[in-house]
C-alpha cells in the first residue's frame, strides 16, 4: 500500500440538531393515498416510506442499489427506492407490494409466490413482487432484454421464457436462494395474464 489512510475529516454535527437543514415539501401518492411531507433533501424514497410514513412493506437491504429489496413502482416503472431522493420524486405515484394486494385479497403475483413457495425468509419478497410487476409491464410493452434473440426484431412480442425471466429479474437478489420457485411463480402469472 502506498501510504496509510489519512484520518477522516470530522463529520459536521447532525444538521437536524442545529436546525439548519433546508427542508423541501414532497407530495407522494403511496398505494393510492396522498401523503404530504416536509423532508431533509437527503431522505430517500425508501426512508420516506418506511421511517416517515410507516409503509414497511418496502425493505431496506443494501441501501446501495445492489440488491433490489427496496424496489417499488414509481409512476408504474420499477425503481430502486434507496437511490431515489424523495425530493426528486415529488408528485410521483408510488406503489409498494402492499399496494398490489392485501392478506385477504392477494394480488396474482402474491398468490403465485405463495402457491409456488417462492420464498424462504421473505425479506426480498416485496421487492421481488414489485420488480416482477414492473418487469411484466416492460415485457408487455415489447422492451427487449440482454437474452432476447435479436434486439433488431422490434415487431415480435416478448416471450417470457425462464431465461428471459431470470435475466429481467437479475436485479433482485435472494440470499435464501428461492430463485427456482420465483422464476416459476412469475412464469405462472405471465402465462395467466397473457
Amino acid at each position: 500500500m502506498a501510504t496509510p489512510a489519512a484520518p477522516l475529516p470530522p463529520r459536521p454535527a447532525h444538521p437536524g440538531a442545529a436546525g439548519r437543514v433546508e427542508t423541501v415539501p414532497v407530495r407522494l401518492r403511496v398505494d393510492g393515498v396522498d401523503r404530504e411531507l416536509d423532508l431533509d433533501p437527503r431522505v430517500s424514497v425508501l426512508d420516506a416510506l418506511r421511517d416517515r410514513l410507516g409503509v414497511t412493506s418496502v425493505k431496506k437491504g443494501c441501501d446501495h442499489g445492489q440488491c433490489g429489496a427496496c424496489t417499488v413502482l414509481a409512476d408504474g416503472r420499477r425503481i430502486l427506492s434507496c437511490l431515489a431522493l424523495a425530493a426528486s420524486y415529488d408528485g410521483a405515484e408510488v406503489t409498494t407490494s402492499a399496494g398490489l394486494g392485501a392478506p385477504d385479497r392477494l394480488g396474482d403475483l402474491q398468490e403465485a409466490f405463495v402457491a409456488r413457495d417462492a420464498l424462504q425468509c421473505g425479506y426480498c419478497t416485496p421487492g421481488q413482487i414489485c420488480s416482477a410487476e414492473g418487469m411484466l409491464a416492460e415485457a408487455r410493452a415489447g422492451m427487449p432484454s440482454h437474452v432476447s434473440p435479436d434486439v433488431r426484431d422490434v415487431d415480435s412480442p416478448v416471450e417470457l421464457t425462464d431465461d428471459e425471466i431470470r435475466e429481467r429479474m437479475s436485479g433482485n437478489l435472494c440470499r435464501c436462494g428461492a430463485y427456482v420457485n420465483i422464476v416459476a411463480a412469475i412464469g405462472d402469472v405471465a402465462r395467466a395474464r397473457s
Partner: protein, 329 residues
Amino acid sequence: MRPFVYERATDVADALDRAGDGAVFLAGGTNLVDHLRLGVRSAERLVDITRIGLDEVEELPGGGLRVGALVRNSDLAAHPALRRGFPVVAQALLAGASGQLRNMATTGGNLLQRTRCVYFQDVTMPCTKRDPGSGCSALEGYAAGNAIFETSPRCMAVHPSDLCVALVALDAVVRTTGPAGDREIPMTELYRRAEDGPETDTHLVPGELITHVDLPPLAPGTRSAYRKVRERASYAFALVSVAAALDVVDGRVRDARLGFGGVCHRPFRARRAEEALVGGPADAAAFAAAIDAELAHARPGRDNAAKVPILRNTALAVLAGLADEGARS
C-alpha cells in the same frame, strides 16, 4: 451524507444559472446518490435536472439519432430506431445494470458515472481519483480489475460503462452547453487518460451540461454487436467487453469499429486493430492478427493478466459473428 441544498431546475437555462458554487447536477442519481451516501463526494447544492426536458430521441436526416441527455437507459434500449440501426448500442445498454437501474439512469449520467474501483468507493483508503495526491491503492492491492491499456501508476481504475464503449466505437458526438457556450465533443475525446490526471474523468468544464448524444449513421449493411464478459451471468460490471461494427463487402473489410470496455481508464477505442482490419479479408486469421496488433500494447499486471486472453477471445468471437451474419444475409 453531508447536508446539501436541493434545487429543481425548470429548463436548461435555469439549470445553467444554478450551476457553480458547489452545485452538482442530479439526474437519475443511481451513482451520485450512492456516492453522496458513501462520502465519496459531497455537494453544497444538488440541482435536479430531471424536469428540464432533453428526454426525447430524434431521428436525424441520413439515419443518425440525437439522444436527449435525460433519456432513460431503458427507454433508449427499447427505441425501435436504435434497435434497428444501432444494435450494438441497444445490446450495450441491456448488458448494463438491472431493469430497475436502467429505468432510472440517464444517457448523460451514464457517460459521467465513476469507476467502480473498490478503492475509489472506500473512503478509508488512499485514492488519487477521489482524494488528489493520495496515491493509488490498486497498484499493489486488489488489482484483478485494473486497466491493461494506457496504464499509469497514477490510477489503475477502469471506466465502468457499457454504453460508452459502444458510443466511442461509433464515433458518437456529445453535445453540451455551459458557461463558455455550446460545444460538440467526440466521445473519443471526452475522457481523460489516467496519465492526464485521474482526478477528473472528462474534459468537461465545471457547470457544463450534456444536452444530447448524436449517433452518426452507419454505412448500410454494417453489422454491429456488443459482448460483455463478467463474473456472473447478469447484473455485474464488465471484466472485459467488446463493441464492434463491421462493414464487409465481397469478403473484404470496408470499415471496422472496435471499442473495448473494462480495460482502460477511459472507454477504449482499438484503433490499431481497426487499421489492421480495414482493407483486409474478413477471415479468422486476419481478425486474429488485427486483435493481436492491439493487444501487443496491453500492459497487464500481477493480477489482471487474464484480461488479455479473455479480451482476445471475446473480440475474435464478436468479429467472427458479425462476418458470419453479414455473409448469411
